[in-house]
């Protein structure tokens, strides 16, 4: 599965600046169709209305965390195949293992650079 830069990407983060950074980085990589959500529940609502090719989510958000969103997505028959990358400051081993068990496709630790984001997106799509 190659990266299709025309696909819609949903960026989920409660910090506006981080959404702006990721949006800019995605734009540089070639993604133009980028939507945003401020927490897991808002993201879930958007995912049920629109098909996204990739979700990039923070972990620590209220009221629904990125980890809860991941589990909801993987438990939803219609959404469960959506590629999901966690981008977070949660860098403890228990977080990484829990996310992997819950079915995350890749895991990026903040702060990160454009190259890391690109390489993880490529890895998710098998490029």
């Amino acid at each position: 599965m190659a990266v299709d830069s025309s696909m819609s990407v949903l960026v989920v983060d409660d910090y506006k600046t981080m959404i702006r950074i990721i949006r800019n980085l995605l734009k540089q990589i070639g993604f133009e169709d980028v939507d945003e959500a401020a927490d897991g529940s808002e993201a879930l609502g958007k995912m049920r209305e629109k098909r996204y090719g990739l979700v990039i989510s923070d972990w620590n958000m209220e009221p629904m965390t990125g980890y809860e969103l991941l589990k909801e997505v993987r438990g939803d028959e219609r959404l469960q195949k959506t590629p999901f990358i966690m981008v977070t400051a949660e860098s403890k081993t228990e977080n990484v293992i829990a996310a992997k068990k819950a079915g995350v496709n890749n895991y990026i630790v903040k702060p990160f650079n454009a190259q890391t984001l690109k390489s993880k997106i490529d890895a998710v799509f098998g490029d």
Binding site: A89, E90, K101
Partner: protein
């Protein structure tokens, strides 16, 4: 049996042993009552001394505690230091956010700039880079603000440590409110650990290594 009460019984017993007739007279009853009253007096006096000593200790402890609580300056911490530290941290958040936005706006303008006119493009890039330099000056101010907060925390830490030592404080369990307990439970369950200090978490390379291993069995 306390000594005072034992003395009372001994006194009464001694008095009865001096008598050889069976019927007690009124004088005997009065004498016995007198012995009992004198003995009780000694008992009460010895109790008074013990209670007095205890009360003196408690009073000394209360005076020491009052002095230590005075030295702790709780009102200074509550009314001045903690609100000031909160304001400093708010200012840090605001200034970093403003600086980040300024820097990102400059970068976005550079990325979106028309490159067909090299001279105009160079002028724009120079102008935006200068604005980025200016925005970076926030670091000096935030450094000073954070230093003030650290100083406040150190002051509070010293005062708390002194108070804990002075009153030999012991932590009591079960003092969390239901909301606090729920917050703690949620943090643990959802692994909301937050950013780690250097060496406390995994860097990207370690995360990648963890990610490449098979998921450990839940059991």
């Amino acid at each position: 049996m306390p000594k005072a009460r034992r003395d009372t019984y001994n006194d009464i017993l001694g008095h009865l042993r001096t008598r050889d007739d069976a019927e007690p007279s009124l004088g005997d009853v009065v004498a016995l009552a007198q012995i009992a009253a004198e003995s009780m007096q000694r008992f009460i006096e010895s109790m008074d001394a013990a209670v007095n000593s205890e009360l003196r200790d408690i009073a000394d402890y209360i005076v020491t505690m009052k002095q230590e609580i005075g030295v702790f300056q709780a009102n200074d911490i509550k009314d001045s230091r903690i609100p000031a530290a909160g304001q400093e941290l708010d200012a840090v958040v605001r200034s970093t956010e403003e600086a980040t936005n300024s820097i990102m706006e400059c970068a976005e303008e550079i990325l979106a700039a028309d490159t067909s006119d090299p001279q105009a493009y160079q002028a724009l890039v120079t102008d935006k880079v200068m604005q980025i330099f200016e925005a970076c000056s926030f670091q000096d101010l935030t450094g000073q603000r954070v230093s003030k907060v650290v100083e406040t925390l150190q002051t509070i830490e010293k005062r708390v440590a002194r108070l804990v030592d002075a009153i030999n404080a012991k932590d009591v369990e079960g003092v969390l409110t239901r909301a606090d307990a729920e917050r703690v439970r949620r943090k643990e369950e959802l692994m909301l650990n937050g950013p780690q200090l250097q060496g406390g978490g995994n860097d990207q390379m370690s995360v990648d290594a963890l990610f490449s291993k098979p998921v450990p069995d839940a059991s």
